[in-house]
Symmetry: C2
Subunit: 162 residues, 2 copies
């Protein structure tokens, strides 16, 4: 029922990601600004399927005057540099997942009723995918797997509909 991601020290993971991000900025000759750092840090801390909107709101707790443009630009940067992956679950806004060195490519199981998003990582599934791609002489870059289903949570408003 409950699904915890890991007991690893989250702060360490965040710090590691931030350090790598900062390194990359230097390598690229880009600047490390206050808002950029905060946005990246909060992005790694939140660690959810965050929308730009949610991130703006959160970051404004630390940097009240931050603009959407800056957050979008930073998200774009994070994606370009491989620290984030954009996801689309069909609700009109793009969500972003941080890419941790450890947990590389998880997939998603989404309840069609309550919209709860559960992550999973299934090695057998990944093997099969690898085989499918290799059979066709492709070289895989990334995958997007979303399973839409009904969960059996009591709190799920399984509305019958008309």
């Amino acid at each position: 029922m409950s699904d915890q991601k890991s007991k690893q020290p989250v702060d360490d993971r965040v710090a590691e990601a931030l350090e790598a991000f900062h390194e990359r900025l230097q390598e690229e000759g880009l600047k490390s600004t206050r808002q950029r750092d905060i946005i990246a840090e909060r992005f790694f801390v939140l660690d959810e399927h965050i929308t730009a909107d949610e991130l703006v709101e959160d970051v404004r707790n630390y940097q009240p005057r931050v603009g959407y443009a800056t957050v979008y630009r930073t998200l774009k940067l994070l994606v370009e540099q491989g620290f984030a992956v954009p996801k689309d679950f069909g609700d009109g806004q793009t969500r972003y997942d941080p890419v941790h060195n450890q947990d590389p490519q998880h997939d998603h199981l989404i309840c069609v009723d309550c919209r709860k998003i559960m992550e999973f990582n299934d090695p057998e599934l990944n093997e099969r995918i690898q085989a499918i791609v290799a059979d066709r002489n492709y070289t895989i870059r990334r995958k997007k797997i979303e399973l839409y289903a009904e969960c059996d949570d009591e709190s799920c408003p399984n509305r019958p509909e008309g």
Copy 2:
């Protein structure tokens, strides 16, 4: 006028789909109008990963004054009634796939360089997915699987590199 993609009787499949669509309209007390019929027919005929925009352009060959609103509304109707599935490949616009009774749920392999979209259907993959969902006491409704990879086509740009 030369755009057949299989040797199967495409016309039959289209006719079948149209008939089913028409039936459904009657069941729902909805009307069968000229533009609605054309849009649905062209949608089934094109049978690609069509965007609303492309469909409008195509339909205007038959119904010049058709508006985006009508096409979007018809696509929405097709989705609601189970004749179409919206897909998002991350390029900013929604694409639609017709749902044929036969070929139920195919997945996609997309070249990150030339954007070519290849369909596939892998029973083993489907089995594993079924297991993943069942293990968590979910009931699957639909899935979205997109594999982004580099193809080895000669016509594919961006091929070599470092």
